[in-house]
Amino acid sequence: MNYFHFPLEDWTNRFVDDWLLPVTGDFFEAISDGLRVFINNVTDLLIAAPPELIVLLLVLVAWKISGKGVAIFALIGSLYLGSVDLWSAAMQTVSIVIVSTLISVLVGIPLGVLATLNKTMAKVVRPILDFMQTLPSFVYLIPAILLFGLGNVPAVIATFVFATPPAVRMTTLGIQQVPADVVEASTAFGSTKWQLLYKVQLPLAMPSIMAGINQTMMLALSMAVISSMIGAPGLGSVVLKGISTVNVGLGLTGGLGIVVLAIVMDRITQGLGQKQKQ
């Protein structure tokens, strides 16, 4: 099948070395610096705060949003994280997830809205999302290191790229699912496009948008673990250490911690979506 040679590898590397890094390096460095300050602040806050206070808040929020069961689970899960000495690692993972989810949502929802308003936009956005979701997540890690170095920042960037598509897609889906007669009614009474959007379409799309945020968060968590490979601290790095030293016990301890985070985050964001539906 080798009829001609397609030097994609060489081209890409030359593009990165000769243009991307020299020309845009400063730009990415600026982003990197800003992002680092932000992530570090969130991490510091979560680690410096008394764990008891965070657990109390978490349990209360879980109770209010998702009910007694989730609240009890959150309490037991927190006790577990403390008892295996993984509390601060968990908080580091949580801060990466929170920051990257926040960026994903801030970028994803407006993008999803734009895609419903503008057909060209929809045509451009869709293949990009397909690309982002299907490209193996490890592949993002390489340019992320190149542009943002090691540690928290490239982790957040890679996570953001990986986790944004559901936020965009579910926003678009939610808006498209608003019944046509409801949109017609709003228009017939003289709504502007903007009024239609924020008084009718967005509120009605909210359950779907919340489901998108939930998925984004879950993807962010899974990526935050993978990005331990590029030096992101947290539960992922505990598991990675377990792998590299063939320490089954350590791997299981860290892995269970990730499961705890996943379940609590999932149930709380799902609860938010359910609330929206009612």
């Binding site: 007669d181 009614a185 909210m206």
Partner: protein
């Protein structure tokens, strides 16, 4: 002046509507255009006008273009050609801003599937049109409250639409259209999704609301009986064209072509005929103060066992039976003491269909009363003969 005037309004769906329009203007048929270009002529040169305060019904089967037509009137669908004058101003030439202003101030709309905002309460649904105009909360809620009371939904202000039955949801839809106080109501199959009984109730209430508020109504339906009941005038649509415009009588009595006559052939006469079509002159009358003996004599002359009593202004007072009259004569009391006042009266516009039950129960002919005046009487016989013979025969006999 015409409230709505529609001239040669045309809508062609497809890739190149202007080319389709050219073909249409060259006299090509809708079917040929579809075959040659793949474009659909939704509405084909429709023209009609609606006077202020008129109830105008557009009736057609599914696919006749009626729902497209009503959406062209407020430009939910952009017309391909033609004009729509609202209060003399052509809506098709308006800028976006003018269009929004016209929709806000002049055009209310009610939808088949209600089109309610599920995330809003009844009150905020109804206030929506005012809210987007930037009206203050207190003021718009006051107006919304009034509209809610007008449609009989008082007490449900804080309910959500999904907590209400279909009929009540459509009342919300109607209230939302009324709250804006626009002169024109566009109603797209507004009652088609409702149960027959609820539909009838809503039709009656809409008529009385329209009487009270003097709205101009453009009403779409696929139900000929509904069209005949509601419409001051009716336009019949087929294949995107209006084939006939006229009053119920004109359409029933004088169908413009075979299509219309096939349509109206099956009309249930009982729903078209009203009490006023079959009522007869009361055979005996007297003033309230007449003596019992005079009453007995009149009944004797007419061969009747009862007599309706009115005063000098023809205001309906009650019924006197022959037995009561004789009793009153013997015990020497005035007739107005033995008068049966609590008697079922009917309105001249009551459909014959609705009279069956009443007529079967009633021992005496039914008095037809409007604004307190006795207009005539309807007997069981006249209801039945009305059904058998139809309108013309009854009124001419």
């Amino acid at each position: 002046m015409n409230k709505i005037e529609v001239n040669n309004l045309t809508k062609i769906f497809g890739s190149n509507p202007q080319q389709g329009l050219k073909r249409l203007n060259n006299g090509e048929q809708k079917e040929d255009i579809l075959e040659k270009t793949g474009m659909t002529v939704g509405v084909n040169k429709a023209s009609f006008n609606v006077k202020a305060g008129e109830f105008f019904v557009i009736m057609g089967l599914s696919g006749s273009g009626k729902s497209t037509l009503i959406r062209l009137v407020n430009r939910l669908i952009e017309p391909t050609a033609g004009e729509v004058l609202i209060d003399g101003v052509d809506i098709t030439k308006m800028t976006k801003k003018e269009l929004i202003e016209t929709r806000r101030k002049k055009l209310g709309m009610v939808f088949q599937q209600f089109g309610l905002f599920q995330h809003r309460t009844v009150l905020t649904n109804v206030a929506y049109g005012l809210e987007i105009q930037g009206m203050q909360k207190e003021e718009r809620q006051k107006l919304a409250q009034k509209a809610i009371e007008d449609v009989g939904l008082k007490g449900y202000e804080n309910s959500y639409p999904n907590e209400l039955s279909g009929g009540m949801q459509q009342r919300v839809g109607l209230a939302r259209a009324l709250a804006n106080d626009s002169d024109i109501l566009l109603m797209d199959e507004a009652f088609s999704a409702l149960d027959p009984l609820i539909r009838k109730e809503m039709q009656d209430e809409l008529l009385s609301l329209q009487n009270k508020l003097g709205k101009t109504v453009l009403f779409i339906t696929h139900d000929l009986d509904e069209a005949l009941k509601l419409g001051d005038r009716i336009a019949i649509m087929k294949n995107g064209e209006i084939v006939q415009i006229g009053t119920a009588d004109e359409i029933l009595g004088n169908p413009a072509n075979e299509y219309v006559s096939n349509f109206v052939k099956d009309v249930d006469r009982s729903k078209v005929l009203m009490a006023s079509n079959v009522m007869k002159k009361p055979n005996v009358l007297m003033t309230e103060k007449s003596g019992a003996l005079a009453a007995v004599r009149k009944m004797e002359d007419a061969g009747a066992s009862s007599i309706f009593v009115v005063d000098k202004e023809n205001n309906f007072k009650g019924l006197l039976t022959i037995d009561d009259a004789i009793r009153a004569y013997k015990s020497n009391v005035p007739t107005d003491e033995v008068l049966i006042r609590d008697i079922h009266t009917i309105h001249p516009e009551t459909a014959l269909n609705d009279l069956f039950g009443v007529a079967v129960e009633a021992k005496y002919p039914l008095p037809v009363v409007e604004d307190g005046k006795l207009l005539g009487i309807v007997s069981r016989v006249s209801i039945l003969s009305g059904l058998v013979l139809g309108k013309d025969e009854v009124t001419s006999s």
